[in-house]
Structure formats: structure tokens, C-alpha cells
């Protein structure tokens, strides 16, 4: 295969992995066209022997012409020569393509702009691949642009890339390498023997087929391992069997990957004009409820993120009630309610259920699991779009007295919710103290804090603010006092932590607006709010964001968070049905209208762990134990075969009825069946064992096989050209001159010799003691490491495993051979045709012929 074509094929194969990014296939055909154009130019350049530096610019120009022809053909002169108009049009399309890519999450619609961008990008990659492979002759380096192409879907998508796509891409690259190797070899002749061959044949031309074959073997093995190994290792495989862990951070070790965008993007979404319905619900008491999606419990100084979730199989919501709400004591009255929620179909890949807190039971189709700590309910397989589900909640209704009585110090469950990063502005802490001065309990502090945000602090709601990190926070609290839910929630949570109250930030939706008999939640109802923890009561929602028309329209202040003295009515948050208008007031930013596609995008970054339910160390231990067991398989196999052979030996030794006296073999140099030094007891058993060949043969065979394996294990493997006798001689020489040992070895080898080559195996038979003695002697002579290796990782068994693998590859070879033979005969046909028809170009033909005879002939 010509190298430029291989380069083009490799690019095309890898570009296939982009498929999950797009809707429809038009992008592919456009990209394929770009690859073909680049490849054709590459072929031309190679044929004309153009200097290497010349090809890429020509390719880029050709690519430009191609894109013009395809995307702006109407504006171009005679269809493809760019004109001012066509250039403007292409530029416009580029611009709109970029915009669309910014706007949409994968899979994006394959409109013109995006298709143009894709085709152009793939075309540029094709140019790079061609540059590395054909012009610079660094085929391996061409992997970099290909890898860049491959990382796009890997990085953008949450879903793993499907393994067939990966394999196609990988084969494309391997094919490129093989083609490069062949071409090199074709030029310079064979460098090494690459295949095991029993006989060496004299070929007349450098046989690149074999090299390609071994290249493919290596490639196939590597790719096969890349696909299978992660699937086999329990700890590396996320939910789907063949999924690759690329970029999704789903593994249990995926630790602290947060949802950086979830909160940051709230602002952007709030500013959007569209206000689509996200979900509707009805509840048994017809009260609006905040619907929580995420609970962010880690503040790292720049953003709130989430701890890795654990969704154990036993925590499936279908298995029964959810885990109890953390911290909720038995004395607190609970208000039970049921909510029926319907999620809009337009939301995609939402893998968390919006739920009122604290849910006690969720009735939803699919594999939804609850995280024990946060009671977030999520799924790794199912999506929430279009889902209808029922939630039972038991909201705590603590009295102020109960809250006052809550332990001043958080219990162990709450302690980690006090962590704050170093480097926060100390003035904020000071302010927190001042604002809450006079409060005697944690609860009163919290109430004062919320009051400060909503009333006394003179905060205003504005969607212009941005950020909730350390500095932005200080600015918000100390100077600006203007922001939306993100800032309010984050600020209150941080200040609460400073005061010693465990706090976290929740993201979800406010209760929405009542339309008809349903509550409707729209994108502008997206919201963030703090939750504070009181021992004995659990997590309670607070609402520092201003509500009503001057804030988050549908925000509500919970009853218990109001100062005890004032009237009971919730202050800022107006009635549940408050204006549904987009950004009404000052309040915390409700999550603004979202582009449904974008919702899925930020959810995509969430660490969703399909947790098997065991702690990490147990899993590691299980993994280690499993690995050890797997590693010990050869040892066990070896042990069992050893045992089996000994059994055969013993059986024969005691079963043969008709003893024949030891055969006095004639010539001393050769006949050595009975060697002096054989203990009399053993000689007796040997004699007993000597019998009819059909009885003795299995024993001899077993003894020989065991001897061979033992020697292999101890690094003295039998060489292919070594006869049994020669092997025995070598072993005896290596192990010393102990006559008993020599007798044992000779008993085995000479019996095997007779089994193989004589008319009958008649004669003394080896006994199990012979093998034991040989093994002991070998062990004594071997190093400690070798001894251990012989027991734990016996080479003989490993070799057998390898032989199995080779057999599999041989099968693959046979397939390949069919093709190779056909390919070679085709080449031959080409040659003759060339000779017959192209007479003018004799010089070239001669050159090729001379090269062949030079490298090929042996005689």
C-alpha cells in the first residue's frame, strides 16, 4: 500500500471516532472528502518526487479549494476558485460553526458551519499526518495528530468511546506503521528474520509480507490487550464492559473531580432569555418545594465541588426506602408529603433526579441509586429526561427551641462540612462574628446571618456579578453586596462554616410557579441555596437570596429560618406562585433559563460512580487478592500436573504384575539402565515396574514430561536438538556426580528413549522417587530466587500459556496469509505488465530488477 494512502486511511479511521459528537453523518462525508483531497495531493507529490516541504502548502491550498467548492460553491468562480464572496461566506460559516459549538453540547447538529469546521479540522489533521508520515518519514510521530483527533470525543463526552470505534482508529494507526515499515524494507531489504521458521527459505525479494505480518500480530495483540485488559481488571472498569476510562473520571479512584461548571454556569443560564419548562410536579399538600439536584460539600477556595458519590447496589431506590436523612433525630416532628414529578423530554442526559429534601422514598423506573451522605439520587445508566417519578418526603419541622438545643458542636457526621481553605479574607470571618453578635446558639447565629443577607446587609440582586471563589466572595461580602443566588448561597455557607456551623451549597430549582393544577419549574427557577446542619435536626435549607420581583422570583424563606420574634410570614420570598418572570429581583440567581442541551453538558462532568458498595481499601484488597490468585494460576496448574504424573507413576509401579529382572545391557558406554548407586529398595521397585510396554509407557511418558517441566522451571530447559540421552548427560554434569542422582536421571531418560525409539519400552521403569531426587538436586543447586520462581511462577506452565496464545495468533496468520498470497501474485502481475507496456521507462524497471537481485539472491 502506498504510504500517502495509508496516511489517509489512518486519518479517516481515527476521524470515525468523532461520530458521537454529531447528529447525522454529513460531517463524515465532508471530512472524508477533505481527506481524499489531501491524500490525492500527497500521492501526486510523491509521484512527482516533489520536495518534502512543498507538499503541505499545496495540500492546504487544495483543502481550501475543496472547502470552498463544497460550502461556497455558488459564490466561487467556476465552482471552486475562491472569490471575495465565497471567502466571506466560508468565514461566516466558520463563525457560525464556532458559535454553534459553543452553544451546543454533543451531539451537535451537523449544520453547515459545524460540518465546515469539522471537515477543515480533519483536513488539517490529514495534512499533518501526511507531513509526518510521508514527507518526514516519521510515521510514529503521526500518532500525535491522530491522538489529538481522538482526544476530542474522549475529552468532550462523558460516555466512553465505544470499543469498536477505538479499534478502528487504532488499526488505522497500526496500518500506517506497517505500511511505513514495508516501504522502508522494500527499499533497503530485509533487516531481521521476523518470524519463527523452522526452515530458512531463499526468497528472491525482500519479503515485506512477513514483516507486515509480524507488525500486525503485534498490533493486534496490543489492541486486543488494550480493549480486554481494562474490562478484565475489576477496579478499572466503569459500568459498561468495554468502556474506556478516557477522560470521564468515573473510576472509583476518580476522587475529587468536582462539578466546576454547575455553579459557575448558573449565572450564564440565568441571563438567557428563553425560559423553558424543566419539569412539573404536583404534591399531596399542594405546597411548592425546592428540588435539589446536587449538594456541593467541598469548598476549595475557588469553587464548590462535590465529594465522590457512592451509589451502592443496595442503595437502589427501587430496593426500598432511602437511607435516613443524616442527623435527623427522632424527636423532631416531620411533615410527610408526596410529590409526583414529571421531567420534560427536552432535558437530556440529566443523571440526577431533582428531589425535595429529605426524600424518604423514590419511586422511579431505572437503576437509580442514592448517595448515603447527601441523599442525592443518580444513575450511571439511566437518564431523567421524560421520567415520571414519585417522591415521599419527611421534612423536619423543628421548633426554634429544638434548634436552639442543637448541640453547639457538630457531631462527627458534620465535622467535615466545616473545612475551609486557607487564605480566605480574615475580614469576612470578622464580619461574620459581628453580624451574628448577640446570638447565643448556632441556630440563632444562622438566623441572624440569613437576616443580614436578606434585610440588614443591604444586598441587592443582580445577575451581573460573577464568581464565588475566595476573592469574588470577599468582594461580594465586603464591598459589592450585589449578586445572585450563587454568591449568596456560597457566601452564607462560607460564613456559616466560619462560625462553626456545618454548611454546604445545594443546587437545583426553586418550587416554581403554579400553573393550572401543577407546579411548573422552568430554567429561570434554577437556584442555589445553602444548607446548614444542626445536630439532631439534620440539614436545613436557608435562603439568603432575596426573593420576589427584585430577586429570585420564586425563592422562599423557610419558616424556621426566620427570626423568632417577627411575624411568621416568610419575608422576602413571596408566595410560591410568585412571578415566574425571568430574572426578577435581587435574589440569588435562580438558575437561569437553560439550554436543555447545556444542562446535560454540565451534568456530564459530575463524578457519577456506580459504587459496588464497599470501601476503597476493601476493594483494593479484593483486587490485590484477585490479582494474586490470577498470578498463582500457573503455580496451581503446575502443582496439579505434577501430582497427576506422580499418581500415574505410582500406579504403574505397584500394578505391574510380572517382574522382569533388570536387563543387563551390553556395552558400558551406552547401556546404563542400572547404574551403581541406585539404592537397592529403589532398584526393587524399578524392577517391579518393568513390565509390558502398554502398562509402562504412560509412566515413562509422565516421568519424562515431569522431568522436562522441572528442568524448564529451574532454567535448564531441554533444547530442541537435544535427545533424551544428551539431556540426561547435561543435567547429570550440571548437578554433580552423586551416583544415586545419576541413576535417577538415567532411569528416566533411557526409559523415554526406549519408549520413543525402540520396538518396545521393556526395561526398568522410572519411579516417583527418581523425580523427587532430581527436583531436590535442582533446587539445591538453584538460587533462592530461582527456587521461588519455580514454585510460584513455573516457566513450563507459562510457556504452555504462551503457546496457546501463539496458536490463536497463528489462526489469525492463516487469514492474513490468504490475503498476502493474493497480494503477492497481484504484484507479480503488475511487474509483467510494466515490462510489457512501458518500454520507454526501461531505466526504472531495470533499476528495480537490479535492486531485487542484489538483495535477493543467495547463490
Amino acid at each position: 500500500m502506498k504510504l500517502p494512502i495509508a496516511a489517509g486511511l489512518a486519518t479517516a479511521a481515527v476521524s470515525l471516532t468523532l461520530y458521537p459528537l454529531f447528529e447525522g453523518g454529513s460531517w463524515f462525508w465532508a471530512s472524508l472528502g477533505a481527506i481524499i483531497v489531501v491524500t490525492a495531493v500527497g500521492m501526486g507529490a510523491s509521484r512527482l518526487s516533489a520536495p518534502p516541504w512543498a507538499a503541505p502548502p499545496v495540500m492546504v491550498v487544495a483543502l481550501g479549494l475543496y472547502l470552498t467548492a463544497v460550502f461556497a460553491g455558488d459564490e466561487a468562480w467556476i465552482g471552486f476558485i475562491p472569490t471575495k464572496d465565497s471567502v466571506l461566506l466560508v468565514g461566516e460559516l466558520f463563525g457560525s460553526g464556532f458559535d454553534d459549538i459553543q452553544r451546543f453540547a454533543a451531539p451537535v447538529p451537523a449544520n453547515e458551519g459545524i460540518t465546515l469546521l469539522t471537515a477543515g479540522g480533519v483536513g488539517v489533521m490529514a495534512v499533518l499526518v501526511d507531513l509526518f508520515t510521508v514527507r518526514l518519514r516519521r510515521a510514529a510521530l503521526a500518532g500525535l495528530p491522530l491522538l489529538a483527533l481522538f482526544t476530542v470525543p474522549a475529552a468532550v463526552l462523558t460516555d466512553p468511546i465505544s470499543w469498536p470505534a477505538f479499534m478502528i482508529g487504532a488499526f488505522g494507526y497500526v496500518g500506517l506503521l506497517v505500511a511505513d515499515g514495508r516501504e522502508r524494507l522494500g527499499k533497503w531489504g530485509r533487516a531481521v528474520f521476523v518470524r519463527r521458521t523452522r526452515t530458512v527459505t531463499a526468497d528472491s525479494a525482500p519479503d515485506t509480507g512477513r514483516l507486515a505480518l509480524s507488525g500486525r500480530r503485534i498490533g493486534v495483540t496490543a489492541i486486543g490487550l488494550a480493549v480486554l485488559l481494562p474490562a478484565l481488571l475489576p477496579n478499572l472498569a466503569p459500568a459498561p464492559l468495554f468502556a474506556f476510562g478516557v477522560g470521564n473520571g468515573l473510576g472509583p479512584g476518580g476522587g475529587n473531580i468536582g462539578i466546576p461548571d454547575a455553579i459557575a454556569e448558573l449565572g450564564g443560564e440565568l441571563r438567557q432569555e428563553a425560559n423553558n419548562t424543566v419539569l412539573t410536579y404536583t404534591s399531596s399538600d399542594d405546597q411548592p418545594r425546592y428540588l435539589r439536584i446536587y449538594s456541593l460539600d467541598v469548598f476549595d477556595g475557588t469553587k464548590w465541588t462535590i465529594n465522590p458519590l457512592r451509589g451502592r447496589p443496595e442503595d437502589r431506590v427501587s430496593e426500598g426506602p432511602l437511607p435516613p436523612a443524616p442527623g435527623l433525630g427522632p424527636t423532631v416532628p416531620v411533615k410527610r408529603a408526596e410529590t409526583q414529578i414529571s421531567i420534560s423530554d427536552d432535558i437530556r442526559t440529566l443523571r440526577f433526579l431533582p428531589l425535595p429534601y429529605p426524600a424518604t422514598q423514590v419511586d422511579a423506573d431505572g437503576d437509580w441509586r442514592a448517595d448515603r451522605n447527601s441523599l442525592m439520587v443518580f444513575s450511571t445508566d439511566d437518564e431523567a429526561a421524560g421520567l415520571d417519578y414519585r417522591v415521599a418526603t419527611g421534612e423536619p419541622q423543628p421548633t426554634p427551641e429544638q434548634l436552639d438545643l442543637a448541640a453547639p458542636e457538630p457531631d462527627s457526621g458534620g465535622r467535615r462540612y466545616l473545612d475551609l481553605p486557607a487564605g480566605l479574607d480574615p475580614r469576612v470571618a470578622g464580619l461574620a462574628q459581628r453580624v451574628t453578635a448577640g446570638a447565643t446558639t448556632r441556630y440563632q447565629q444562622a438566623v441572624k446571618l440569613q437576616e443580614w443577607f436578606t434585610q440588614s446587609g443591604a444586598f441587592t440582586y443582580s445577575l451581573k456579578a460573577s464568581g464565588s471563589g475566595g476573592e469574588a466572595l470577599s468582594q461580594f461580602i465586603l464591598t459589592d453586596r450585589s449578586g445572585y443566588c450563587e454568591q449568596f448561597a456560597s457566601a452564607m455557607a462560607v460564613m456559616a462554616r466560619m462560625l462553626g456551623i456545618p454548611a454546604k451549597v445545594s443546587i437545583g430549582f426553586t418550587g416554581g410557579t403554579k400553573i393550572g393544577d401543577k407546579w411548573t419549574v422552568r430554567t429561570h427557577d434554577a437556584h442555589a441555596w445553602p444548607e446548614l446542619y444542626f445536630a439532631g435536626v439534620g440539614w436545613l435549607r436557608f435562603e439568603p437570596t432575596p426573593g420576589g420581583t427584585a430577586g429570585q422570583g420564586t425563592a422562599q424563606v423557610p419558616q424556621y429560618s426566620l427570626p423568632v420574634t417577627p411575624t411568621a410570614s416568610p419575608s422576602p420570598g413571596s408566595s410560591p406562585g410568585a412571578s415566574a418572570g425571568p430574572d426578577d429581583t435581587t435574589g440569588d440567581s435562580a438558575p437561569a433559563p437553560r439550554n436543555p442541551r447545556e444542562i446535560e453538558r454540565d451534568l456530564g462532568n459530575l463524578p457519577i460512580a456506580a459504587d459496588p458498595g464497599t470501601p476503597l481499601w476493601v476493594k483494593i484488597a479484593i483486587g490485590v487478592v484477585a490479582a494474586v490468585l490470577v498470578l498463582l494460576i500457573p503455580a496451581v496448574v503446575r502443582l496439579s500436573s505434577r501430582y497427576r504424573r506422580r499418581r500415574v507413576l505410582d500406579k504403574v509401579a505397584f500394578a505391574v504384575p510380572d517382574p522382569v529382572g533388570p536387563d543387563p545391557e551390553a556395552d558400558g558406554s551406552d547401556a546404563d539402565l542400572i547404574v551403581s548407586g541406585d539404592t537397592s529398595a529403589r532398584r526393587k521397585r524399578r524392577a517391579v515396574a518393568a513390565g509390558a510396554s502398554e502398562q509402562v509407557a504412560p509412566a515413562v511418558e509422565a516421568a519424562w514430561a515431569e522431568l522436562g517441566d522441572t528442568l524448564t522451571d529451574f532454567g535448564m530447559a531441554r533444547r530442541p536438538g537435544e535427545s533424551p540421552r544428551a539431556l540426561g548427560r547435561r543435567v547429570a554434569q550440571t548437578l554433580g556426580t552423586d551416583p544415586g542422582l545419576t541413576a535417577s536421571i538415567t532411569a528416566i531418560t533411557s526409559a523415554e528413549e526406549r519408549r520413543r525409539y525402540a520396538r518396545s519400552v521393556n526395561g526398568p521403569s522410572p519411579v516417583a522417587a527418581d523425580l523427587r531426587q532430581v527436583r531436590r538436586a535442582l533446587a539445591a543447586a538453584a538460587s533462592k530466587k530461582r527456587r521461588l520462581g519455580a514454585t510460584l511462577a513455573p516457566v513450563s506452565t507459562l510457556l504452555r500459556l504462551r503457546a496457546l496464545g501463539e496458536k490463536a495468533l497463528d489462526g489469525f496468520d492463516r487469514l492474513e496469509n490468504i490475503r498476502l498470497v493474493a497480494g503477492r501474485s497481484r504484484n507479480g502481475a503488475d511487474d509483467t505488465m510494466g515490462n510489457r507496456t512501458v518500454t520507454v521507462r526501461d531505466g526504472m524497471e531495470d533499476e528495480a530488477g537490479a535492486g531485487r537481485s542484489l538483495t535477493g539472491s543467495r547463490r
Binding site: A202, A666, S669, P720, G721, P724, R759
Partner: protein
Amino acid sequence: MAATPDVTDAETRLETLVDTANRIRDAIESVIEGKSDVIRLTVTVLLAEGHLLIEDVPGVGKTMLAKALARSIDCPVRRVQFTPDLLPSDITGVSAYNQQTGDFEFKPGPVFANIVVGDEINRASPKTQSALLECMEERQVTVDGETYRLESPFMVIATQNPIEMEGTYALPEAQRDRFTAKIAMGYPEPAAELEMLDVHGASQPLDKLEPVATTAEVRALIEAIRAVYVSQPVKKYAIDIVAATRQSPDLLLGASPRATLHLVRSARAHAALSGRDYVIPDDLQDLAGPVLAHRLLPSMEALGQQRRPEQVIDEVIRRVPVPDVK
């Protein structure tokens, strides 16, 4: 007891064989010191009904070996000194006109003997050489349309001198192929050479050598050797070895099918001399060098790297797997 009469019979024959062969070896060894390997090979070739080519520098005992073997067997021995002017009829014999009978009468040449020693065979002209070689292969002589059979056992022991090549006609490949084995005597060990000085100084030991075996005995031995068992895997092994020489890139010409035949036949003798009634791969390995090396033509590359055919054969032996199951 459990042994069948057949087995016993075979065993007895084998014992006789080993015994007789040992007597011959001992006899030769009383003349030639410290060369038991060479002597063993010589006896092997004799029992395999083959011919032996001894190649070495002058004075290492080539002719002595040939003579000692000849004399230890009680049989007619003829020695021919090859010279450039030797004629074919000097070897095969001539038909001479007998005036008394008025008829042509065949005068047998020196080839009509059980053991023929051809000294410095490469000195004779190709025509004469080929006359001898025809006898070697066909075991018959044709003169004037009359065919005369040669007696069994018939063995030609030819010697040649690798140096001093001037005025010689090196044996062509086709003729070298007829010799079962080629051996080199090599210089004796210092101890053996010392003993040789003592013995040969006093008398000529060859004169004292008495025949230890009769022609009939040797014929029986040859017969017994034909019965030595060669298992299928061993035959296959022989073929593998020979095939490997044909495919080796170091060799221009590999071994012939006749070489395979010679190899297996001499392996039988080798096995019998070891007291075995079956051939094992070790027999073939031991014999591959002497039996095959002189038939091979190294390639130019091998010559350039000074790789001799013996080394190539060693490599082949190392590489070709020893056969396993029956």
C-alpha cells in the same frame, strides 16, 4: 521368562556382534594408539557396508589404519597406490588372450578383494578414479561386456592428502558422495605418540597383528545390523537433518538422498556397536558430521566467513528438533 524366544535370539546375536566388533577394534587399537573414535567409526562403516575416505596430512597413520583393519579380518586385502599414470584396467583387471585355450581370459585386478586400500586416491586421473567408484557403488566389475560380482564384504578405504595438491585430481562431488564417511585422523595425543615411539621403535606391530574375525563372521555381523530397528520418528529425524542441509543458506549444495541412506545405515551399525537394537537420534547426531560433511558444498558467503561444512552440520543438529512420539 517374559522375554520371547525372538527377543532372546536377537539379544544373543547382538551380544555376538558387539563382541566381534570389539575384538576388531581392539586389534586395530593395538596398532594405532589413542584413536578409538576413528577406529570405532571405521568399524561402523565396515558393518554398514560403506566405504571410507580418510583425509589427512601425511604420516598420521592413514594407511596404517587401513592396513590394520584389513589385517584384523581374515580376508583378502589389496592395496593400490594411486599415481597419475594408473589406468582403469590396473584396478578392475584385464582380459588377456590365452594362447593355450585360444580365448580371452579375465585377469582380476586388485579390486577383487574384500578390503581395498586406495592410497592417495586423488593422485590418479579422473578416469581411473571413476573406474574404482563404479565398483564401489555397483559392487561389480564389467570388463569386455562380462560382469563380475565382487565379494561381500567389500570395502574401499581411500586416503587422500589435503595439502600437496599439485598434480592431483580432487574427487568431484559425485564421487565423494559414494563414500559413506570421511574422517580425519588428526595428530595423536602426546601420550599416545610417546607410546607409539616405544612400540614402533622395537618392532612393527602390524606384523604381529593376527586376524580376529573371519569373512563369514563379518558377513553375519552385516546381516545382523540390517535387523536393527529404526523407528519412524528417527527416520523422520534423518530426513529433517538432510533437508535442513539442503535449505541452509550457508550451503550451495546439500546432502543427497544417498546421504540419507548412508546416514541411516551407518546409524544402525553405530547403534549395534553400542549394544542397542534400535537407533536413537544420538546415533544420527554422532554420525552426521563424518557422513554428511564431505558431500556438502559451502556457499561463497560461508567460505568467506570460514565456516566449514562441519560447523554448518553442528548448527543444523542444534536446530533440528529431536523427534518425539512414535
